[in-house]
């Protein structure tokens, strides 16, 4: 019995076989997910790799972590499961009760106690974890491999705990009593209280753990889908088995489109990560949303407060459900599922939503525990909050936040824009003189013709004036100006018979590109030509690029905007910008090579 209907699965369903072999039974938490067998496969991959085998830390150490995190969440299902496992390893009932109610017992070593306190800190408020917490564990003799596994087990505890709340399975065994009043474990300082006196925790940024090089082929599923390999995965290479299980689980949960859409799942990842104050995951998944066609501003709004986004009422209800289950779970009940059904969601969709929420909590916990460095700049809403670097705990966003307008400090144009919006022409003139170069280059980038770009500039400037009152300051003014220039250029392109497209698959054929010119270049090749000649060479090379590469090279290498700015201005994801930039640069290299190789210039 659970909140969702169960479907009879074949006795030979491999995850069930795996559980029967290792535990002797199939947990009800798994049986509660039978309407979508692939999520059971994902869950089993994680359980098998992270929990059900001896690793750098022992099975008992793992079950202790699972038990205290479950107890802290008042999760009777998971408490019963881990209590049973600990009993089977010979841990006495009294010791289990002490773990449940005091987060420790008298036979635990100081190192094990410090480890449990670290796990509680990570599961309760991951943003408060800092490099010094990791240093403390090292001082107790934990090696990086063990720490990585400890973080994984904590993340798994949060994953299972989230599903246990969302699915309400019957306990597999008799329930154990958990102290009804949540006992505060020692706060972060207490982790250090056990430190040897000689220990001096060094303040340093993430990543916290050693991460040896692994071939990018290891991450092929991620590379193929997202077009890049996030630092998140690269930071887990010390334990390739755990990484592999995680990648397989991610593949089964996040990539299929047969139940919820990719965009719905990415919105869940963004909204729950934002509620967990995880700027890393928000930045990554906002970028992936951009790759799925959502604008940067809309993605920021989903992170800030999806209630004010343009998502459908049903999708906003889905995110309400997700955030409640993921972050404010103490008030979650079967009623929340019934309410979500009224928006037309099926049981499969509700289950998949719950699993995506659980996986988001899993990923957020891992990221915070490992101090993964960002791949992208976080959106404005979390820009000031470097939570991956252990910002002091703060409350999740209050409901009703709008992705904030940029202040004068963030956008040097803000003052002039405000004046121009009241009709002050001098302010508008100053703005367009300031940005004329950028507007022109954006026009050349799309039109591929400098003369036509000069001609189009007048239209773009008039259009900017016409619409400036509607500019809300959610992006930089310069970004907005480029979008005006872009629209102007597209209008002109539509008048042409042959339109070069800026669209095209996100990551597509570009990986196949291989350089043909392999002759060595001169040491200082540009010195063999005059500045004017170099400029003419580069300009004709850029104008000869297909539009989608030309636009990225123009803005990134000629205008020298950051990858994130280019991505926002062209409405592409940052990974897509990176792929196109590399392709464009390599094509330019091919173009320039005959002029700069040793033989050409000698």
């Amino acid at each position: 019995m659970s909140f969702l209907r169960a479907v009879q699965l074949d006795d030979k369903f491999s995850p069930f076989v795996a559980f029967r072999e290792s535990l002797g039974f199939v947990p009800n938490l798994l049986r509660a997910q039978t309407v979508l067998p692939r999520v059971i496969e994902a869950h089993t991959k994680l359980e098998s790799a992270v929990r059900l085998r001896e690793g750098a830390i022992s099975r008992i150490q793992k079950e202790r972590i699972l038990l205290i995190v479950a107890a802290d969440r008042q999760d009777t299902y998971c408490v019963a499961a881990s209590s049973r496992a600990l009993s089977s390893f010979g841990v006495s009932n009294r010791q289990i009760d002490d773990l449940l109610n005091k987060y420790g017992h008298e036979n635990l070593s100081a190192a094990d106690l410090a480890c449990l306190q670290f796990c509680l800190k990570l599961s309760r408020h991951a943003p408060s974890v800092q490099a010094e917490d990791i240093e403390a564990l090292r001082a107790y003799g934990f090696e990086d491999k063990s720490i990585l596994e400890t973080v994984f087990v904590t993340a798994l505890a949060v994953y299972s705990g989230t599903l246990s709340v969302g699915l309400g399975p019957e306990p597999d065994f008799g329930a154990r009593k958990i102290t009804s009043r949540r006992v505060d474990p020692p706060r972060s300082a207490a982790v250090h209280a056990f430190l040897p006196e000689s220990h001096g925790a060094a303040q340093r940024k993430g990543p916290y753990l050693r991460a040896p090089y692994l071939s990018p082929k290891t991450f092929s599923i991620i590379h193929k889908t997202y077009g890049f390999i996030p630092n998140f995965f690269r930071s887990q290479t010390l334990q390739p088995d755990l990484l592999e299980a995680e990648l397989e689980a991610a593949g089964r949960i996040l990539l299929p489109e047969d139940v919820l859409t990719r965009a719905q799942k990415e919105c869940i990842l963004v909204a729950v990560s934002a509620a967990n104050l995880n700027s890393y995951c928000v930045a990554t998944h906002c970028n992936l949303l951009r790759g799925l066609g959502m604008s940067a501003e809309e993605g920021d709004q989903v992170a800030a407060d999806y209630h004010l986004s343009s998502l459908s009422e049903a999708d906003r209800a889905l995110l309400d459900f997700a955030v409640k289950l993921g972050v404010r779970f103490s008030g979650f009940s079967r009623g929340d599922i019934l309410q979500l059904r009224t928006f037309g969601f099926t049981e499969e969709q509700i289950l998949e939503c719950e699993v995506v929420v659980a996986f988001t909590n899993f990923a957020n916990t891992l990221q915070m525990g490992l101090g993964v460095e960002p791949d992208f700049e976080p959106p404005l809403i979390l820009g000031q909050n470097k939570v991956h670097l252990s910002a002091p705990p703060s409350l999740p966003m209050e409901r009703g936040s709008v992705a904030p307008s940029l202040t004068a400090m963030q956008d040097p144009d803000a003052g002039l824009v405000a004046q121009a919006q009241t009709g002050k022409l001098e302010a508008f003139e100053e703005l367009v003189r300031r940005h004329s170069q950028l507007i022109y280059r954006a026009l050349v980038a799309i039109l591929g013709d400098p003369v036509e770009a000069q001609d189009a500039m007048q239209d773009a400037l008039l259009s900017a004036f016409k619409h400036i009152a509607g500019f809300q300051g959610r992006s930089k003014f310069s970004t907005w100006l480029v979008s005006i220039a872009r629209n102007t250029a597209f209008q002109r392109l539509r008048g042409r018979k042959e339109v070069e497209s800026l669209d095209g698959g996100e990551y597509e054929e570009d990986r196949e590109f291989r350089p043909r010119q392999v002759r060595a270049w001169q040491d200082n090749p540009e010195q063999c030509y005059s500045k004017l000649e170099i400029r003419q060479l580069v300009e004709s090379g850029i104008l000869g690029l297909p539009a989608k590469y030309r636009a990225v090279v123009m803005l990134r290498d000629i205008e020298q905007l950051s990858t994130d700015e280019v991505s926002r201005q062209l409405g592409l994801s940052a990974p897509a910008v990176k792929v196109r930039l590399l392709r464009g640069r390599l094509m330019l290299r091919e173009w320039l090579s005959p002029h700069f190789t040793t033989r050409a210039t000698s």
Partner: protein, 80 residues
């Protein structure tokens, strides 16, 4: 040592100087031992330098000013 294919998968981030020390070490080792990738890396770095320093598509004030002046004149005259 990593293969040329693996090197190429990391190449974009390497050019942008956005790889971790562990990845950089592997890539540098490969470049030091593979002539083709060495040429590719060297010439790509030079391409980026030449392109970024070329001053391409600079719109001289003598061209942009009259365009802006015409626009402002239209706005001041009240016709957009």
């Amino acid at each position: 040592m990593i293969t040329c294919e693996e090197f190429f998968l990391e190449f974009g981030d390497y050019l942008e100087n956005r790889v971790s020390p562990e990845v950089r070490k592997e890539l540098e080792l490969h470049v030091s031992q593979c002539r083709v990738c060495q040429v590719l890396y060297d010439s790509s770095c030079k391409t980026v330098k030449i392109v970024t320093e070329s001053g391409s598509f600079d719109l001289p004030k003598s061209v942009s000013d009259p365009i802006i002046d015409r626009v402002m004149a239209r706005l001041r005259a009240g016709s957009t």
